[in-house]
Symmetry: C2
Subunit: 135 residues, 2 copies
Amino acid sequence: MQLRMTNQREIILRELKKSKAHLAADELYDLVKKIMPRISLATVYRNLEILSEAGLIGKLEISGRQKRFDFDVSDHDHIYCTVCHRVDNLNIERKGMDSEQLGAEVGYTITGYRVEIIGICPDCQKKGKKMEKKQ
Amino acid sequence: MQLRMTNQREIILRELKKSKAHLAADELYDLVKKIMPRISLATVYRNLEILSEAGLIGKLEISGRQKRFDFDVSDHDHIYCTVCHRVDNLNIERKGMDSEQLGAEVGYTITGYRVEIIGICPDCQKKGKKMEKKQ
DNA sequence: CTCCGTGCAAACGATTTGCACTATG
DNA sequence: CATAGTGCAAATCGTTTGCACGGAG
């Protein structure tokens, strides 16, 4: 099964990288549609899946919501806003965590791990304060 | 808004605790239906939400499609099997992680964080080996 | 007797799939 | 020219909601 670099695949990849954000499929679809108006949402889904399997982008399965896709494939963690569901990158020093050993204790073979910090992003904090005043 | 301890709520809570597992709503629904056959799936969803808001159970919004609910409300992390989607408890020493400070660096107000180890559980490792032999 | 909770069915949002057609390598 | 990829619509999966009725406090 070889990958063909189709026009739609190329644009999807390029627009995600260009956005420098952690977009969900439908958000990226809106961007890509501006360039290629007849593209289908299914194609965006299919390609995001394929590109992440190929290691060209990252897949973020956070919080049982929409999957988001990461333009940055280097090793890093994420911080998640519970209000607007935005995701930002984070650099955590992962000292003192031996995931292999922890997994071994419960009989698991470890393939990776994920640290996710949860909070409220700067924008939503501002909006929250406005709301308070109104009420 | 006070909580009423209805029959269905009591059974849902009891069966989750009894299972000692991280069940998804439909799995718990199957269990509870054996005891109260006319219960509706919507009731299970509503109660799981309410019980987790009340702090009587934990809600897990980790990888995978479904939310899972935790019989154990004490502070701990989780390990997730990518093959069967099962979740187990884990005790990680969270040394060397100052989530407050990390959040502050990107302007977030932190409400919590989540560490999730990802791998393949003992059962699926066994099954995997069987599959290999067959092929 | 007051509302919170329930069952049911329908609605919903995100994602996937079957199909016939298109176009890459 | 074989076969991976596409667009479209319908299907699916997990979850939520509106509504009229039922039962806990």
